[in-house]
Amino acid sequence: MGDLKLPGIDYGALLPMLILFGAACVGILIEVFAPRRSRNVIQLSFAFLAVAASFVAVVAQHNTRKITIGGAVAVDGPTLFLQGSILALGAVSLMLIGERSIERGGPFVSQAAITVGSQKDLKQAGDQPGATEVYPLTLFALGGMLLFVAANDLLTMFVALEVFSLPLYLLCALARRRRLLSQEAALKYFLLGSYASAFFLFGVALIYGFSGGIALSQVHAAVADPQRSQVLLYGGLALIAIGLLFKAALAPFHVWTPDVYQGAPTPITALMAACTKVAAFGALLRILYVAFDGVQWDFQPVLGTIAVLTMLVGAVLAITQTDMKRLLAYSSIANAGYLLVGVLALNEEGLSSTMFYLVAYGFSVLAAFGIVTLVRDADGEATHLARWAGLGRKSPLVAAAFTFILLAFAGIPLTSGFTAKFAVFGAAIEGGQTWLVVFGVVTSMLLAFPYLRVVVLLWLSEPNESTPTVSIPGFLTSAALVIGVVATFALGVVPAPLIDLTRDAAQFVR
């Protein structure tokens, strides 16, 4: 055995991730040692503190552009912007996760196997502030996402994928209400997620066979060499892409999304819709822009077809949904299609507009799911669309906020939905992908129907007996809603500062 040379490690550049992973470990210790009564407050504050510290660490190194830890991690403009986005959206998700005033015990249950409504169950709801394990799990997930968007070789990327996926599988199973649905969703997510991970890993193996390395720069160099096996290259690229398309919920790998979004506790759905999307597209951007940009003429049509399919599936299926969470799930699938249009522009504009879209959509979708947590009856959240009829009469403020968010999803001007769509479509036209934009505009029109149908339902129907009451949001949910709505409005009216930021950040290191 020769000398083992340690690679140089820039701890400063890794600090955001280290903070989150460290805090998650400490969180588990808190779970063990902190007294049950004050555990929730301690965990919540600690999680916020960790996210805030990590965000500060990201901001502090905004000028860093380097590859460290033996080429495994790249800290560059997109990495830092996406990490900041994940942390900001994660903080808002944490507000929804930490809400305990809407329901006794909060949305999460720690002993999910206890029969619902039994004496034990009532005692459990009364005694405890729910499952406080959710905080360290969330931190692990967020940490994994930060690593995912920074990963500069395929194995690190795979590890990061698993690190953020496993906590999410768990979190999905913890709903207090409709426990079986929640557990079923978690199991489905886990099985299909593992399946997709297997594709990804197989793809990594093929690419290793193709290029003899796993670093993205090695792949990039190998792509330029026509002597190598093209079958390995394309097979590997396809399989890696499939793994990422699964996480980003693109058709036909979206099938898990409606079931999981519906079954998961709503704050976790919000976390997945906002942060997972950022992470998945961050990784996809890096893979396509850094490693495989040499074969862009070959993957553009295939991924373009997937984008079109995704937009169509999301828009068409959203029309007949009767459940609010499923409706939002299909909306999120369609939005993944729009994001892929931005990605496929394959120019700097495409990179920056996709990042802008991710942030804009993230805040809107957090607000949307935040409102879903408020519309409740005795059985928990009332998610059937018919139940929302006439809500505008009973709770004008909440209904108005939801209407605004729906208009943003529909891409109406003065909302971030408009500026974001405008940005990605503009980038795609610049990148020569006009056909994708045509489909994007057509499906936007289709999607306006389900959104506006909800608006009509909210305002133009008479409230009836079954119209649920809107819970008075606690401080945390109120804050999350205000942040989501204000961000949606602000990014629609003065998008320039954030667009400038994304433009400054739109340069990968290789």
Binding site: L191, L192, V313
Partner: protein, 641 residues
């Protein structure tokens, strides 16, 4: 003709010209927004705001007259109104000699009519609303004449259109008033569309809508462009001023309260077309075909107005047709160009006085006669309404052009100018103007005699003619003074005053008749027309329509212009809309609903693929994966290339 147009920036007092628009606008906002709370004092606020605007206008006017002739204009730019691409439009105002006289006319006559309306509308529950609209009109009209670019003019143009529409339909519960409002609105749309397209064309060819830049660069345009641009502006002008072929709305607009008829549909708004052409004189003088079209429109309309006016029995409609006819004289004037521009403006100002005078007099008659408007049912009113009679007489003598009243000084020069046009057309337009003078004398005398002289022919027993209150007769007296003196005063001062706007007077063409002869001729036809009418109607007239010849029947039916409009535009329009509705219902809706149903059905079927079983999800993912890998390999192996 190369010319540079420059407006001096405003300085000193003149930088406050925006107040002229702001004051009535603020007053209108207060009256319309405060609602019933302002009912008690609202009308006085309305009068006060216009009177204050008049005083301000006078101050600005005097200030302006103190400047050198070359620098006699004041331009301010309040803010950037529109900035889209290359289009930059300032919210800018221009106070120059032309705008100055208009400001004085609008606010001066406007103040008197506002005052009169306090009495006229006393028993109307909607008086505050009326004054709100009235102030809105004044603000819009002032913006129209004060704008320093065509977009500002258009802004005011649409504003007066709105106010006019609201005021014609003021008594909106009456079907006739509602219909008349709609008619005015629709016919004005035609003209406004022309004006709008004209402004677009201006921007497309010159890249600006600013007066100075447009006028300075007209010579760079091809003559076809100038012709099209001028015709579009003329269409707008004809719509607003009730000129052929868009004259039909103006007489119907008399459904509004009489002060509205006096201010908007006689003295000010309907002259906006004349203002537009006078303001755009650089465009109109650049193309002789264009000038001929304007002159023809003017001559034709002035004759039409006279002929129809002679056959009408409704006091306000006679006055309305007379307005159409008099504006025809003004169009004739601006079409002749050169020194006739100033003549048209003088006639416009003089007309503002005497027509407002007569409209208010008619209102006073109606006030005393229980809202009766049929002149066949008046007669001998001079005994009961001394002031109304006397002041109306001044207006009557002024409009038919008896010296030394104002109409003589304003109309006779236009007739003379028509004879000076320079070729055989001098005869055509000169004779038309001369004939118009005789006809005017005939029908105005008929109106005057049937109303105030001859036997009493009141049909309802409860009619007790009485003089109107003081607040209504005082404006009448002041306007009568204007009808008497304004013509002489202006004919000596206005041409010099307007010289900075229209340029120095060119030497006229050789007149086909000597000026003295024309003066004598026009006086002769006037006296003839008036004497004929006096002889025919001094013993009154039948209460019912009498059988009449072809000409009179045609004139009673507005020379069939309404029938032509109906046959040519309205019916085909109705058929077109019906066809479109059919197409929309069956074709487009069918298509849209069909697509929607198709997508909905697809959605419903696709939904079933979402079974909830992990195994089927995994299968669909596998299928997708096989397809994706297959597609990549296919591309690689060249199958799809």
């Amino acid at each position: 003709m190369e010319q540079t147009v420059e407006f001096a920036p405003a300085s000193g007092v003149l930088s406050g010209i925006w107040l002229l628009v702001a004051i009535p606008l603020a007053s209108a906002a207060i009256l319309l927004l405060l609602g019933k709370r302002a009912d008690k004092w609202g009308h006085w606020l309305g009068v006060l705001s216009v009177a204050a605007t008049f005083v301000l206008g006078l101050v600005f006017f005097l200030n302006l007259s103190g400047l050198d002739a070359e620098r006699r204009s004041a331009q301010i730019s309040l803010w950037d109104f529109m900035a889209v691409g290359n289009l930059h439009v300032d919210f800018g105002l221009l106070f120059d000699p032309l705008a100055g006289v208009f400001v004085l006319l609008i606010t001066g006559v406007g103040s008197l009519i506002h005052l009169y309306a306090v009495g006229y509308m006393e028993h109307d529950p909607g008086r505050r609303r009326f004054f709100g609209y009235f102030n809105l009109f004044v603000a819009a009209m002032l913006l129209l004449v004060l704008g320093n670019n065509y977009v500002m003019l258009y802004f005011g143009w649409e504003g007066v259109g709105l106010a006019s529409y609201l005021l014609i339909s003021f008594w909106y519960t009456r079907p006739s008033a509602a219909t008349a409002g709609k008619k005015a609105f629709l016919m004005n749309r035609v003209g406004d569309a022309g004006l709008a397209i004209g402004i677009f064309l201006m921007f497309a060819t010159l890249g600006t809508t600013q007066y100075d830049e447009v006028f300075g660069n007209v010579s760079a345009l091809s003559s076809t462009t100038v012709l099209v641009l001028g015709l579009l502006l003329l269409l707008g002008a004809a719509g607003k001023s009730g000129q052929f072929p868009l004259q039909a709305w103006l007489p119907d607009a008399m459904e509004g309260p009489t002060p509205v008829s006096a201010l908007i549909h006689a003295a000010t708004m309907v002259t906006a077309g004349v203002y537009l052409i006078a303001r755009s004189h650089a465009i109109f003088t650049a193309n002789t075909v264009l000038q001929t079209v304007v002159v023809s429109v003017g001559a034709l309309t002035l004759l039409m107005g006279c002929i129809i006016g002679a056959a009408k029995d409704d006091i306000k409609r006679v006055l309305a047709w007379s307005t159409v006819s008099q504006i025809g004289y003004m169009f004739l004037g601006v079409g002749l160009g050169g020194g006739a521009y100033a003549l048209a403006i003088i006639h416009l100002l003089a007309h503002g006085f005497f027509k407002a005078n007569m409209f208010l007099g008619a209102g006073s008659v109606m006030h005393g006669m229980h809202d009766q408007v049929d002149i066949r049912r008046f007669g001998g009113l001079r005994k009961y309404m001394r002031w109304t009679w006397l002041t109306f007489m001044m207006g009557w003598l002024a409009i038919i052009g008896i010296p030394p009243l104002s109409g003589y000084f304003s109309k006779e020069p236009i007739i003379a100018a028509a004879f000076e046009r320079g070729d055989w057309t001098s005869w055509l337009y000169g004779m038309a103007a001369l004939l118009g003078a005789g006809l005017t004398a005939f029908y105005m005398t008929r109106l005057f005699v049937l109303t105030f002289h001859g036997p009493e022919r009141y049909t309802e027993d409860n009619q007790h003619p009485h003089e109107s209150p003081f607040i209504m007769t005082v404006p009448l007296m002041l306007l009568a003074l204007g009808s008497i003196g304004a013509g002489w005063l202006m004919s000596t001062s206005v041409p010099d005053w307007l010289e900075p706007v229209f340029g120095a007077e060119e030497a006229p063409h050789e007149a086909v008749l000597s000026h003295t002869l024309i003066t004598i001729l026009s006086l002769v036809v006037t006296v003839l027309g008036a004497g004929l009418a006096w002889a025919m109607f001094r013993r009154g007239t039948a209460l019912e329509p009498q059988p009449a010849g072809v000409v009179v029947t045609a004139a009673r039916r507005n020379l069939y212009t309404d029938a032509i409009n109906e046959a040519v535009f309205e019916r085909p329009g109705i058929y077109l809309t019906r066809a479109l509705v059919f197409l929309d219902n069956k074709g487009i809706d069918g298509l849209v609903n069909g697509i929607a149903a198709g997508i909905g059905g697809t959605s419903g079927r696709l939904r079933r693929l979402q079974t909830g079983f992990v195994r089927s999800y995994a299968l669909s993912m596998l299928t997708g994966a096989v397809l994706v890998v297959g597609a990549f390999l296919a591309i690689q192996l060249g199958w799809l290339a």
